[in-house]
């Protein structure tokens, strides 16, 4: 019989130990709210959820969950989850990872999980800092960021996790903001129900070591309305409190315009196509940075292509159809053998 769950069914009651004000609390709550809906939509029970996490503040996530969970070594969560999902396509496999975990030490596993399109649901907690080691710059820290290991400012161009995921051909890429609880929940439900590699970049605040790193575009609802754009498939790319600002294509670049100004009408505004295989516009949208552009949130990319795990299952079924009921003995005693009598 199908079981119905509440958010509390998915937490084990251990005290949550993130700092007060940390953005991870908000993501945790959004996950708890998302899971009953995912269980319902995928029609799977709680015991078929598995959470895998690497190392870092966000990776403590699994210890608070009442699902199967595995807190592993630094950077390798995507690889462990790949093995788990390949072996067990019946499970809903989630990965909790940070910007250091997935983009520095685990960068290789991250891009290959995207490329393979293994059916994982990866939440990338992007606070643009190393929090657990107490404040060193990360691969997503803004250029010039002063930290303990960059006392004169960083000299490295940061990664955009969403851009990297799109470049590696992840089939689902979304972005959310810690304070947007409903948006986060929606992205996580969509990502979990998407067949294939789903990357949700969560812009989270580190109140201790990188406070207000996203504040310019995320601090308040009013600021978010003006400085972020919520992308929805099939809808015009509009933003602003009055929804009169929008994106148009100017040559090979995106450009922010105001409807009704400079001759631009609603018809000129781009319509979001999350389902196109082509990565060009998705990349441009994911690359937008404040203040030149609004920061894109919502589902940036959502394309259908065969998943790694389902292809493995398909090949096995094909081979088993070709050689039904084959056993190890058939292999060992078949082919070139001889008998000594």
């Amino acid at each position: 019989m199908k079981r119905e769950y509440t958010p509390n069914d998915f937490r084990n009651g251990s005290p949550v130990k993130w700092c007060a004000g940390c953005g991870d609390h908000a993501i945790f709550n959004s996950v708890l709210k998302a899971l009953p809906e995912v269980a319902d939509r995928l029609d799977i029970p709680r015991e078929n959820f598995a959470f895998i996490s690497g190392i870092g503040c966000s990776s403590r996530f699994v210890y608070y969950m009442n699902t199967y969970g595995f807190h592993i070594i630094h950077g390798r969560a995507a690889a462990i989850a790949t093995g788990l999902k390949t072996a067990r396509p019946d499970l809903s496999v989630w990965v909790c990872s940070g910007d250091g975990d997935s983009l520095a030490i685990g960068g290789n596993h991250f891009i290959h999980a995207c490329r393979r399109n293994i059916d994982l649901n990866l939440i990338l907690f992007n606070n643009e800092i190393y929090g657990l080691t107490k404040g060193q710059y990360s691969p997503t820290s803004k250029l010039g960021k002063v930290t303990k290991t960059s006392p004169f400012g960083t000299i490295e161009e940061p990664f955009s996790p969403a851009v990297l995921a799109i470049g590696a051909k992840a089939s689902f890429v979304a972005r959310t903001i810690d304070m947007e609880l409903d948006l986060t929940k929606e992205m996580l439900v969509e990502g979990a129900c998407h067949k294939g590699m789903a990357v949700t970049e969560a812009l989270v605040n580190c109140v201790i070591f990188n406070n207000k790193t996203h504040a310019d575009y995320a601090e308040s609802k009013a600021i978010r309305e003006e400085r972020t754009i919520r992308l929805k498939h099939g809808e015009k790319m509009l933003f602003g409190a009055e929804r009169n600002k929008g994106l148009v294509l100017d040559g090979l670049k995106l450009k922010v315009v105001t409807v009704g100004e400079d001759g631009y009408t609603l018809d000129d505004i781009l319509t979001h196509d999350a389902h196109t295989e082509d990565t060009a516009l998705h990349t441009m949208l994911a690359s937008m940075r404040y203040p030149e552009y609004p920061v894109a949130v919502g589902v940036i990319r959502d394309v259908a292509r065969p998943t790694y795990d389902s292809e493995v299952t398909r090949q096995i079924a094909e081979q088993q159809e070709r050689e039904p009921n084959k056993t190890a003995d058939d292999l060992f005693f078949g082919g070139e053998t001889w008998e000594v009598k």
Binding site: N12, Y68, G69, H71, R76, A87, R88, I316, T327, L331
Partner: protein, 616 residues
């Protein structure tokens, strides 16, 4: 009585194939065989150069053969480069068969010799050199099939095969069956051309009365009754896992990254999707072991295969498997090191890496295989230990075992030992209140009487739990940094490994039961060391040999047997790693090391001298 034959030629001359077919034909005829491919790391070095020479050695004889022999009695050299590169592997009275068509002034000059003085320069004056026009014979034999010259010349190795089989009256039936199977559906003409070349070679041997060394003494009755097949170590490892998966009811998963000389295991497993085997060719060595750990968490028999450099990369994840009590088999097919080292040469220098190469006190089971066929048994045993005791096991093989072949007596899975992983359901644990906390949640480090963590596989209702690499409170499995818990868990990790000794048979001793000298060996050296000791024992020396199969925990009986001898000599292809380890755990005052660091197999005759030197 045994004879050693070595084939050598350009990398493209098909020497590996002729070697394999000769050994399989000999085995088919009832001989004991053991092979040793000796090929360069480069895929196709320039033709006719010493760097491009590929060799294949076979030791075959009237009894079961346990190694590939020392120097060869018969050497086939397809060109001057092959002769120059491999004549050093020949006995002083070797019969050398050369393709005389290829021994031109220019070809000999290309490798830096003068055709007039070649035999003197290579010190081959006492050899019996057979100058056979192999190229011309091939062209004549296949003329009827109108192949282009390049395709025609590809049949040269079949002339060689026919010739050498003919020298020993070994039937070409097996080879013909193989050729027909390989080519018949692809290219009928090529198939017939190869068979014609094979027959031409056989006729040449008979017509010229070319008779092999020891030929008249070699009746073939080497093997016990049973069904046999030729198997190499990599294939045997793969099949051992396939058998263990079927026996245990756990699906088989292999996550690996290609690396010489281990790749053959991944390649073999990738073929068997019909048996439900899943393989992931991972993005790197770390992902190889991590995908395996993930699959194991999900309930699979999970393995990862690698060589020394890859084991180094996997070490952190191995520590996680120890910490989280994850069943896993890591196969290290050792090659020469350090660093990239000697990819195609064999060494035993990863032993201490396997033992100690992790952060923290991180004990795990280290098991070894000592012959290609034994690779099957040890892979099976490694899987049984991993699954029943919920722990990672490192299985050490090496390049010689991986590529060497010998006859393997085939057994059915029904005749193999049982494998019973401690899989549990909520109902099965209902009586065990100690497995649940006050809130009714499962304590993930609950264990059975063998200290094996209960395996609650995702999808099992009511046993949801979290594992991890952080130190844990015993049984409860919550994070704990307390000194008491860390000490308790550390002792538990050691005890879990120690208890595995009971799963592996005690060491077997060959020769004297007590006396002056015990010789120990492991891995691919066992065959030669065992034979050297057997010969000395037969000559009256109070010497014995034992094979160390389980290194951590130390196999039962090894320490006791050592104490019955005045001296212990450990023969191994490294700087003395097993000897050093034994000195650290066995209180015996005279443990000596016979260490060879040349990344080449021991030779029986030099071994005998070295052992004698330690005997007196």
């Amino acid at each position: 009585m045994s004879t050693v034959i070595r084939f050598s030629g350009d990398s493209g001359d098909g020497m590996q194939m002729v070697g394999n077919l000769f050994s399989e034909s000999a085995a088919f005829a009832g001989y004991g065989v053991f092979t040793f491919p000796d090929y360069p790391a480069e895929v196709r070095a320039p033709q006719g150069t010493v760097a491009g020479v590929s060799g294949f050695q076979i030791n075959f004889g009237t009894q079961a053969i346990s190694h590939h022999g020392d120097k060869c009695d018969i050497l086939v050299a397809m060109n001057p480069a092959a002769l120059v590169a491999h004549s050093k592997y020949a006995t002083a009275t070797v019969t050398i068969i050369v393709d005389s068509d290829n021994f031109t002034k220019e070809a000999v000059a290309k490798v830096g010799y003068d055709i007039e003085t070649l035999t003197e320069q290579l010190h081959l004056e006492e050899c019996n050199i057979v100058e056979a026009p192999i190229t011309q014979m091939t062209l004549d034999a296949v003329a009827a099939f109108e192949l282009d010259r390049k395709s025609a010349l590809k049949c040269r190795n079949m002339v060689v095969l026919g010739m050498t089989l003919g020298m020993y009256d070994i039937s070409t039936e097996y080879a013909k069956k193989y050729i027909t199977h390989k080519f018949a559906t692809k290219n009928e003409l090529v198939c017939r051309a190869n068979i014609s070349a094979l027959e031409a070679g056989e006729n040449y041997a008979r017509n010229t009365h070319l008779v092999g060394e020891h030929h008249e003494k070699m009746g073939a009755n080497a093997l016990a009754k049973g069904v046999y097949r030729s198997i190499n170590g990599n294939q045997a490892v793969a099949w051992g896992f396939i058998a263990a998966a079927e026996k245990s009811g756990r699906p088989l998963f292999c996550g690996s990254y290609p690396i010489t000389p281990a790749t053959g295991i991944l390649e073999e497993l990738a073929k068997h999707k019909a048996l439900g085997v899943k393989t992931v060719q991972a993005e790197d060595e770390i992902a190889g072991i991590c995908t395996a750990i993930g699959a194991s968490f999900g309930g699979s028999l999970a393995v990862t295969t690698t060589s020394g450099p890859g084991l180094a990369l996997k070490s952190e994840a191995l520590g996680l498997a120890v910490m989280a009590q994850i069943p896993l088999v890591v196969v290290d097919v050792q090659r020469g090191g350090p660093s990239t080292g000697l990819p195609t040469k064999s060494e035993q220098a990863d032993l201490l890496q396997a033992m100690y190469g992790r952060n923290g006190d991180c004990p795990l089971v280290v098991l070894t295989a000592h012959s290609p066929a034994d690779c099957f048994d040890k892979a099976y045993m490694a899987a049984k230990i991993a699954l029943e005791r919920m722990m990672p096991v490192v299985l050490l093989t090496d390049g010689n075992l991986a590529n060497g072949t010998e006859p393997w007596r085939v057994r059915g899975v029904a005749d193999m030992p049982s494998i019973t992983p401690p899989i549990v359901s909520r109902e099965e644990l209902a009586e065990k209140a100690e497995c649940f906390n006050d809130n009714g949640l499962f304590k993930p480090y609950s264990a059975n009487e063998n200290l094996a963590r209960y395996w609650a596989i995702p999808g099992t209702e009511g046993l949801e739990h979290r594992l991890g690499g952080l130190e844990k409170k015993p049984i409860a499995g919550s994070i704990s940094y307390s000194p008491e818990d860390h000490a308790t868990m550390g002792a538990l990790r050691a005890e879990r490994v120690a208890r595995v000794a009971e799963m592996v048979p005690s060491v077997a001793i060959e020769g004297a039961t007590e006396g002056d000298l015990l010789v120990l060996s492991w891995g691919s050296n066992v065959g030669k060391v065992s034979e050297a000791v057997a010969q000395l024992y037969g000559e009256g020396a109070k010497v014995a040999h034992a094979t160390v199969e389980l290194i951590n925990p130390l196999q039962r009986g090894v320490a006791d047997v050592m104490m019955r001898f005045k001296r212990v000599l450990v023969c191994e292809s490294n700087s003395g790693q097993l000897a050093s380890y034994l000195r650290s755990i066995v209180e015996h005052g005279d443990i000596r090391s016979l260490a060879d660091m040349g990344a080449q197999p021991f030779a029986v005759d030099t071994l005998k001298k070295d052992i004698l030197a330690n005997l007196n």
